[in-house]
Amino acid sequence: MTAMLNVKDLRAFYGQVQALHGLNFSLNEGSLTTLLGANGAGKTTTLRAICNMVRSTGAVEFQGAALLGRSTENIVRLGIAHVPQGRGTFTAMTVEENLQLGAITRRDRSGIVADIERMYDHFPVLKQRHTQQAGTLSGGEQQMLAVARALMLRPRLMLLDEPSFGLAPLIVRDLFKILGKINREDKVTILVVEQNAQLALEIADRAYVIETGRIVMSGNANEIADNEDVRKSYLGY
């Protein structure tokens, strides 16, 4: 199985403060991986470093292409969609415009129109609100919009930063079900960063646990979920 994303000795810095101390991990094509850890462990920083949104050193390779020298928008154009923390919704624009923006780098008009319809199938509530200003949607709806927007890129790799944040448990379950579906049916490799470890481990194949900028544990998701010591020490349950 080929590695879609290869991260070697990734270090990231916010000004003088070092947030990541040499991460090493890789994602296999078609896998759904979760990156777990407590607040401030460096999960968000890892995703941001992959997209060159924070000063980093080391090597990040996506399907053979080196990422760290490229601008964020060029990294995205390689096929990596990043759903940031807080969703990053274009609040002043309509739901449909948000989806169109997801596909702004694509040229295939009819494909884009078809994909928008598919998003409405995945997330019917978006269809209901498609002419509404995105800022008026609820948290859960904005999260769905953010995921849909990311999918409009037809990405090979999707990065999600704490998609469960601030959402009611039932909505999170639905969301994760959809993520699983996208991973299996659309063959999108997914890396999801989560604080809600239990749910993430239910849908993931592999898991990494990060603590203060270092990976302290890695393995198959169900092994980690079954390992009570790991759960208690690192995941809080």
Partner: protein, 292 residues
Amino acid sequence: MELFANQVLAGIATGAIYACMALAVVMIYQAIDHLNFAQGEMAMFSTFISWQLMQWGVPYWLAFVLTLGFSFVAGIAIERVLFKPLAKAPILTNVAGFIALYSIINSCAGLIWDFTIKQYPTPFGSAPFLGSQLISTHQAGMIGITLLMLLGLFFFFRYTRIGLAMRAAASVPESARLVGINTSWMIALGWGMAAAIGSVAGMMIAPVVFLEPNMMLGVLIYGFAAAVLGGLTSPFGAVIGGFLVGIFENLVGTYIPGVGNELKLPIALALIITVLVVKPAGLFGRPIVKRV
């Protein structure tokens, strides 16, 4: 009552100048979230270029189009060379940059074309419009061109991909990058468009105020005021604002005694500020909820 109606009409006619300028102001605001003090000078310089072309025998509309193209490219060039390096600098430093640009352009124009007033032609003639003593054909033409630009901008932002991308880059730059938009180039494009629109404003205004390097100062201030009054996020508001400023100015001159030309500007500004105090986002601007 007839005097009032006449003054309003006349105000709309002069207001077309401000509406035109205000469109350019809003355009740049959309791109860089700030007002560019040098925009008037850029418009003035473009107008001089068009004048020079006509001096060399180029017919009006060809000179117009060439100047539009030149201004677009020049706007992008100025942004890339002078303001991209300042992108990470504080806003106030950027403002100092605008002031420096103003100084440079004004000085160069003065050297190249000197400060004597020049006549500038209008393609619309200056006969009374439809027999009215208050609006000339040129002013009507100016209003027409302004409305056309407004329409063009509306379609551009609403219905084109690049217009959507520009709006996205201006509103949430980080998310724009995350969908693959090169936000840096969107800013450059905004400058180019603002420069082009400004050049149209200059070429429309010059027949009225006569061509000389300091012709745009008053116009720019009124243009700012109009844009702010209309709401900086709304091109439509900018145009309405422009007409309103023209009307204010005329009414103030007519009805408030002892007000000569010099006091018109501060009074108009004072009125606008009063409106702002009541409606801080301007008449058509979208008040943004501030998140802590």
